[in-house]
Point group: C2
Chain length 338, copies 2
DNA sequence: CCATCTCGCGCAAACGTTATCGCACCCGCT
DNA sequence: AGCGGGTGCGATAACGTTTGCGCGAGATGG
């Protein structure tokens, strides 16, 4: 029954170095009024280190009415794409002295509950929302304006605080690659078109196809998961005039799309070229290895954190777009049409 | 420049209902000394609801010296298996009135930093560690005993507070399935054997093989990711006496193993049967659809939260094993040997 | 030698809660 | 009428931190 060690408080450091707590606080915060003798400062810093003092975030949060924590709502933890965004956000937040609290905003109210706990109970200073979608109750709560928010990846039009990437360029890069290979009948497995991200990706793709003077691509919208990709690909590959080159919007969709093509007996890339969006280690291990458009996901996470912290500092919210261009990662799933 | 609405405090509710804050606090906490007139209670509850009062978790945490938050450290957010564990943990925690703060404990110090922020700064009451592995610095910090901990999935031998599943039975179920199909030369793509989980899975597999009177399986240990699975499978399938049935320990490894077999020109299941561990939607979309052993992952997450909360209530720590048995999910990647 | 100024630090109040104590008041009993 | 004991609630002190204010002491100037 060993006791848990009582955490060391400001008062312990103060007593040990023979000064008042307020002095310790000021010294350790390196604050403005540095009117402290160097030797005293030295002594305080030294004992603080010796005792392994760490300020209590709860007490600090109460006094400062700011917790040093940011929330991050992602739509699904099963989607490896978000792992990259999350890492980018965590790392940048840490650099800025913040901790980020991650929650999954799936159907079933997990996101709502997280919102209640994190925002409603004052546990965070700001919220990163990567799970925006029309009808998501979180959007109504956003309007209440309890905490500053930034929408990540999926924009919330009119919010004035979106962090996004060059989705149109991603679609265009995919189209250009397929067109460059000689494909003339193109198709797209898009995401749910109510999602801003999916919509822009589609528009960029369609615009590039139009610019090349080709017939508009056939588009099948589908959920961002394996079943969605499978069903959409099956639709695209059925019937006459089927596309020889298909742009798929997400790695999970790509896995499903591969399965769909396989079931119809179509080989990749011999019968149909497939290019994916969002690069992921998994792409190397598909059959065939998936050519993708790499998106700056970690940078997106970092940029979103920056934008949120700017708001916390009192700056007016603004939309930001990560300017790193989408980049083609060539593997084996695309080739010249037969 | 709309102002953020100032959150409603206990005092607002008190003023509005004409009583003192302490009374409001007692009423809303339904506490012991219910010596309050029903009409007063009614009035307080009513105005609290009307004003949408939510207690401030920070102030509450400071006073009670308990935050109502649990930490959860997972080794990788790219592994879909953990999504299931996380959901189980989140949901159970919510039922018990706790919020869980999720962080990734990858190489590169993310876990360390999370530990510092969450435990060191007193942001959480207890910690769930799913990222235990020999040499992980978190294990030394555990020994300091600042907060109660529970090790999830990967046990920390000797800690006395592990939550795990019937890994040996998983290995045995996989072996039994392959043996039942008539396979006599078995192999295993194991996880890193320094990990308790991987080791037990391997032992269960080996024991079942021995019990059937077969030669001991060839085991290739590998990282729990696609490259690991690919390399290990390649090793297993090279040389004479290669196995006709292989047990792979994880869905990511399975993807890699499929790729490895493909590169050697071996068909699944015609040339080699593959059975995976941990069921996941992805399994349906592999070529061939992957037969797996389903593990009770969400229940594991829930059980770990239960064990941690028990410790917070002052009960002595104890090891728990989720008793739901591993279950065969038959798909197309296993068949009778040629 | 006293007034003034600056330096170096202590004092105490707050942040929003909860918990312990205690004080009125009302009821019933003698 | 006086007394005792509940009943119903208010005052208050914390929890660990930050911060405006102020006070003593030494330095400086007249």
């Amino acid at each position: 029954m060993s006791q848990r060690p009582r955490p060391v408080r400001l008062e312990d450091v103060a007593r040990e170095s023979g000064v008042h707590v307020s002095t310790v606080s000021r010294v350790l915060n390196e604050s403005d009024s540095l009117t402290v003798r160097p030797e005293t400062r030295e002594r305080i810093v030294e004992t603080a280190r010796r005792l392994h003092y760490r300020p209590n975030a709860i007490a600090r949060g109460l006094k400062l009415s700011s917790t040093g924590a940011l929330g991050l709502l992602v739509p699904s933890l099963r989607n490896p794409v978000y792992a990259a965004v999350i890492r980018g956000a965590f790392d940048r937040a840490w650099e800025e002295g913040f901790v980020v609290l991650l929650a999954e905003d799936t159907d079933g109210g997990r996101g709502q509950r997280a919102y209640e706990s994190l925002v409603g109970e004052g546990r965070i200073d700001g919220l990163l929302i990567a799970s925006a979608r029309p009808g998501n109750p979180i959007l109504e709560r956003f309007a209440e304006g309890i905490v500053p928010c930034v929408f990540v990846n999926r924009r919330h039009i009119g919010s004035g605080c979106n962090a996004s990437m060059r989705e149109e360029d991603a679609g265009a890069a995919a189209a250009d690659h397929l067109i460059g290979l000689g494909h003339t009948r193109l198709g797209q497995v898009a995401g749910p078109l109510v999602l801003d991200t999916a919509h822009r990706r589609m528009q960029g793709f369609a615009a590039a196809v139009a610019a090349a003077g080709l017939d508009p691509p056939r588009v099948e919208a589908a959920a961002f998961d394996e079943p969605g990709g499978s069903r959409a690909m099956t639709q695209l590959l059925r019937g006459r005039d089927r596309p020889t080159g298909v742009f798929v919007s997400n790695i999970s969709q790509a896995v499903g799309a591969f399965a769909g093509a396989r079931r119809l007996g179509r080989a990749i890339p011999a019968d149909v070229s497939v290019i994916g969006c969002d690069d992921d280690p998994l792409a190397d291990y598909l059959d065939a290895p998936l050519t993708t458009i790499r998106m700056p996901l970690a940078e997106l996470g970092a940029a979103a954190v920056d934008a949120l912290i700017a708001q916390l500092r009192g700056e007016p919210p603004k939309d930001v777009v990560v300017d790193t261009p989408p980049q083609l990662v060539l593997r084996a799933s695309t080739g010249v049409p037969i």
